[in-house]
Symmetry: C2
């Protein structure tokens, strides 16, 4: 989803020569490559054309990496390492003259409870999932390969992206988007946790903005610490509902049905709640201004509505 939006933005802004890669076939007006990066030799083919800028977004998501240990490590760790190795080899073949920018999407899943009030830029990576472990390893490799001069890397830890467009999914985090998206479409949404649950959010538009900014940043400002927690909006579920009420009225908020789920409560309790993203802010990364703005961006970008939907005006 972020990848698709990034491509839209890149085509518009730069008119750049894009090559899109995925493991499953897909349609695009740009050049596409379909292969499995975790298979030896595939990453080399992709890097042979010496792209100047590489966005590495691919991953087996959290739930699947937890359910399928081998697949998670194969794709998220081996795939990333093979990509980095292919760049190193191409760089060596070019006598060091090839040194692309690599933008790696990490995740706040590299952090694990217990947390301080706000996770700052010096807090340890102690993930509580295999996905978070694989992302944390990717960050370490990115730093080392950059320090050695094989490429010019930057890793950005995305907040939970909200409001995710599309249909509800089975992700434990799905309700954060669902309780906004479904009511805005006049449909009921289930809330499995209490309103006091606090989390860290960015709109899809802000997330694409982070990636674009990372692509253009003067990385000498990063020193040797090339992985950054992105700024975001800290909000409780209660804050989300209040913002929904402001944007779309009581009627929308009434479509949220409380149905506590102890399993989801437990999973979510281990997630980061708040950050002090000073470094990223100082480097010019910009978050959404409020949860209300996050909802308005969803209306604008997904529903092509800038005003509240009619029903909510009642």
């Amino acid at each position: 989803m972020i990848g698709r939006k990034l491509v839209e933005r890149l085509s518009k802004d730069a008119g750049a020569d894009l090559v899109l890669h995925d493991v499953v076939p897909f349609e695009s007006r740009h050049k596409t490559v379909v292969s499995d990066l975790s298979v030896p030799g595939e990453a080399e083919k992709l890097i042979a054309a010496r792209p100047e800028l590489i966005f590495h977004l691919a991953a087996i998501v959290s739930g699947e990496a937890e359910a399928d240990f081998d697949k998670g490590y194969r794709v998220n760790l081996d795939g990333t390492r093979r990509l980095f190795e292919a760049i190193r080899k191409e760089s060596a073949a070019a006598g060091g003259a090839y040194r692309p920018r690599v933008v790696f999407t990490s995740s706040i899943a590299v952090f694990g409870a217990p947390f301080p009030d706000a996770i700052d830029d010096e807090f340890l990576n102690a993930p509580l999932t295999s996905y978070g472990t694989q992302k944390a390893i990717g960050e370490l490799l990115l730093s080392d390969y950059s320090r050695r001069g094989f490429f010019d890397g930057i890793g950005i830890r995305l907040p939970t992206v909200c409001v995710r467009p599309g249909k509800p999914n089975k992700a434990a985090s799905g309700f954060f988007s669902g309780i906004i998206r479904e009511p805005l479409a006049g449909q009921e949404a289930v809330l499995p946790v209490s309103e006091s649950v606090r989390h860290w959010f960015a709109s899809p538009r802000a997330a694409v903005g982070f990636l674009m900014h990372a692509a253009q940043l003067d990385t000498t400002k990063l020193g040797n610490r090339r992985n950054l927690s992105m700024p975001g909006v800290c909000a409780t579920v209660g804050d989300e509902i209040e913002a929904l009420r402001k944007v779309a009225g009581d009627q929308a908020a009434r479509l949220i049905r409380r149905e506590p789920d102890p399993l989801i409560e437990r999973i979510v309790s281990g997630w980061p709640q708040n950050f002090d993203a000073s470094r990223a802010l100082a480097l010019g990364f910009r978050a959404d201004s409020s949860f209300e703005e996050i909802i308005r961006i969803h209306l604008q970008d997904e529903l092509q509505k800038s005003a509240p939907p009619p029903k909510a005006r009642a």
Copy 2:
């Protein structure tokens, strides 16, 4: 060196059934296995006998891992991962009934400057060497494999071991031991840095004590954070020299020749200086009491002398 001392201690304490492994042939009265853990299939052979307790000390050291990128990653990362994978497979073959204790020696090289006054248990791993990167990845894998129940792991970050017995070597850290060891043997030692350089030390005896304690620790006390900075002695080079003077007299201290080396000064300036190892202390890990004790341990364990050497009494 630590491995050899650990074997002496294990044979004495437990009379346990030991299997020793290395990549190069070696002599021992215990069962030995010589193989390369980074070669597919070798780790499985080693684990087939289902050892209850596994000490994983093996590594390409810092300087070599920096000089030979491929070898460092192959041995320190792939070797460690293959060992962990072999245990996971053996555990699965035993229906989960096989779940050994794994003691992994990590290193304070997982930390990189800039540092706070004392590195606490929540400070980030931002290594500035490939060796430190490989150790940090080992720590992440150890945590995840333990969390998933494949084994019961604990990673301990050793301080710089001092006084290292044996001959001077080319390691950038060699002088920390050399300025004690050589004068105690009546020989001149070169000091390439200023006396204000501060670092974090443990005697070989304390290091073996950490490994033994880690092997026996109730790991439920660790929660999900299974990697620990070990307590140590924080001392400047000036403190080292003062301790040498106290133990062995002015004559010994006069054998230290100042010969500043800007390269070594620069390397050492990126190393940790001081720790707040509260967690490890609370879990019962014990450091040497002072740098003087570190010197006395060297005299006792290596030179079989409990009193200062005669020359130093003058």
